[in-house]
Amino acid sequence: MNVGTLGMIYIFILAVFTGVEVIRRVPTILHTPLMSGANAIHGVVLIGGVILLGTAGDDKVLCVLGFIAVILGTLNVIGGFVVTDRMLEMFKAKPPGKTSPDK
């Protein structure tokens, strides 16, 4: 799909507003897990690494750069999601005295 540079700028602007809106009302207690979760999501650069390596062809330099990028991106994605999940595991409702969850 080719939307052109201008189209990408539109998407960028809309994504800025979306990003701000979706977390606007985050309670303080979730700041750390949210930062960690966002950290995992920007691991999406991994995709760029995979494309770079996958389309590198015979270019040795690109292969090396792509290979390293995929390793680094994977570290970001896996580490990010696993750490976030471990943090959030702690927040699961306790068996007794489960009160209003959105405090």
Binding site: V3, T5, M8, F12, A15, V16, T18, G19, V20, I23, R24, V26, P27, T28, L30, H31, T32, P33, L34, M35, S36, G37, A38, N39, I41, H42, G43, V44, V45, I47, G48, G49, I51, L53, G54, T55, V61, L62, L65, G66, A69, I71, L72, G73, T74, L75, N76, V77, I78, G80, F81, V82, V83, D85, L88, M90, F91, K94, P96, D102
Partner: protein, 460 residues
């Protein structure tokens, strides 16, 4: 059907999952599923990428993913909860480095494809954001991990030097964009790598959470601009989401910690004004208390408020606090926890640590909720917290923490402070509360002290 249809559909759904995931991450009851949704989105996006036309080297891709997965998984699974902040920083740095390498690769491969601004600018930005984020995050990691000194590093011409580096980045970027020699790109990359180090080294450990949050949005932007260069919608959307959400999060965090973002970035916190430390004059003796006496004080109290701080976390005393809480409740004492927004090392960090120790969620009260209750508390038990209960924040305009909202522990009838030594706190500021006539100090390691308290209360 176009060969692109399936990958494009995957990218579209992945982008939606990222948005919903982030949305759910900002509410306690849905946060965990939000994280899983986002992870699912990531898997979809990755799958879609592999189905793109003209792809090859699948073996190498798989190998690189395996090489990245194993240490990432092990590190994330094994790290202690107290070390979470630096782990987030480390993974963030990896993302930054990834963007750097991709942008370099794109630059080198795109040499023949013409140099219009729409392609060149995102690559240059990817190199710069990625580099700053990479080295900046590593320095933040090193500081929090104790590999390098947490103290703010100072050297002459600091700000001028950074401004100069920025100028070098701009000039060499322009040179790289107009030159036929692709290797020019290494110059802005090197300058940006240096800038990341120079920018974070002067910032003290107490401000690291804010720095990590800034670098987090920086990596988000790096991912977004890389997406621009590669025409990949998922990368643009996810990267921008994180960039924007991260920026807002940074602002919220600064508000919770009463720091000015500009002052954190351009440095001055940590430089305690001369004389501020000695301003608390008058009675300067700390009064000690033994565990047994403290146990009696709490065992016969009606209401005890526990103020947990980072010292509790490093001593791994969360579970013992919960035990103390239980033995006290058995005696009919009402126990509550006062959690300052920045208790621990990041906003929300203490909640995670106490939740890990199975402290029921409703007992953890925010600053606004608990502050009116200190009046009625017989004992405020402060464990390894310092700056968040420092009354100087209310009264001394010369203090670096002046204006920061604090827990009104000094309003309780008695105050007991469990503290490792007599030194000043994380931010290096003297605390007048420790010299207050109604304050008693219980010196020692938090874990040991709590163990003693539990034993003594049981023996009552």
């Amino acid at each position: 059907m176009n060969r692109d249809t399936v990958p494009e559909a995957a990218f579209l759904i992945a982008s939606l999952l990222f948005i919903f995931g982030l949305k759910q991450l900002s509410s306690p009851s849905t946060a965990r599923s939000g994280n899983l949704l986002a992870a699912l989105g990531m898997a979809l996006a990755l799958g879609g990428t592999l189905l793109l036309p003209n792809m090859g080297h699948f073996g190498w891709i798989l190998l690189a993913i395996v090489i990245g997965t194993v240490p990432g998984w092990l590190l994330a699974k094994r790290v202690k909860m107290t070390a979470m902040p630096q782990m987030v920083s480390l993974f963030n740095g990896m993302g930054g480095a990834c963007a750097l390498f991709i942008s370099l690769g794109e630059w080198l491969s795109g040499a023949s494809a013409g140099r219009d601004l729409g392609r060149v600018l995102p690559m240059l930005l990817g190199v710069v954001f990625g580099s700053v984020s990479f080295t900046g995050s590593l320095v933040a990691f090193g500081k929090l991990q104790g590999l390098i000194s947490e103290k703010p590093w100072r050297w002459p011409w600091q700000k001028t030097g950074n401004a100069l580096l920025l100028a070098v980045i701009l000039a060499s970027s322009a040179a790289a964009a107009s030159s036929q020699n692709e290797m020019w790109i290494l110059l802005p990359a090197a300058a940006a790598l240096l800038l990341g180090v120079a920018q974070v080294l002067p910032i003290g450990g107490a401000d690291m959470p804010v720095v990590i949050s800034v670098l987090n949005s920086c990596t988000g932007l790096a991912a977004a601009v890389t997406g621009f260069a590669m025409h990949n919608m998922s990368m643009i959307i996810a990267g921008t989401l994180v960039g924007a959400a991260g920026s807002l999060l940074t602002v919220l965090m600064c508000k919770a910690m009463n720091r000015s973002l500009a002052r954190v970035i351009f440095g001055s916190f940590g430089l305690v004004p001369e004389g501020a430390a000695t301003a608390a004059s008058g009675d300067q003796t700390m009064r000690e208390i033994a565990a047994a006496e403290c146990a009696i004080m709490m065992g016969y109290a009606r209401k005890v408020i526990i103020v947990p701080g980072y010292g509790l976390a490093v001593a791994q005393g969360q579970h013992l606090v919960h035990e103390l809480d239980e033995v006290l409740e058995k005696r009919g004492v009402e126990v509550k926890y006062a959690v300052h927004p920045v208790a621990g090392r990041m906003p929300g960090h203490m909640n995670v640590l106490l939740a890990e120790a199975n402290v029921p969620y409703p007992k953890l009260l925010d600053m606004e909720e608990i502050n009116p209750e200190f009046d009625q508390a017989d004992v405020a038990l402060i464990i390894g917290a310092n700056d968040v209960v420092n009354p100087a924040a209310r009264t001394e305009s010369a203090s670096p923490i002046y204006g920061m909202p604090i827990l009104n522990a000094d309003k309780a009838k008695n105050v007991v402070v469990i503290k490792r030594g007599r030194g000043a706190g994380f931010a290096g500021i003297e605390n007048g509360l420790f010299y207050n006539p109604k304050t008693r100090m219980l010196f020692g390691d938090a874990k040991k002290a709590l163990q003693d308290l539990v034993t003594e209360v049981k023996a009552l």
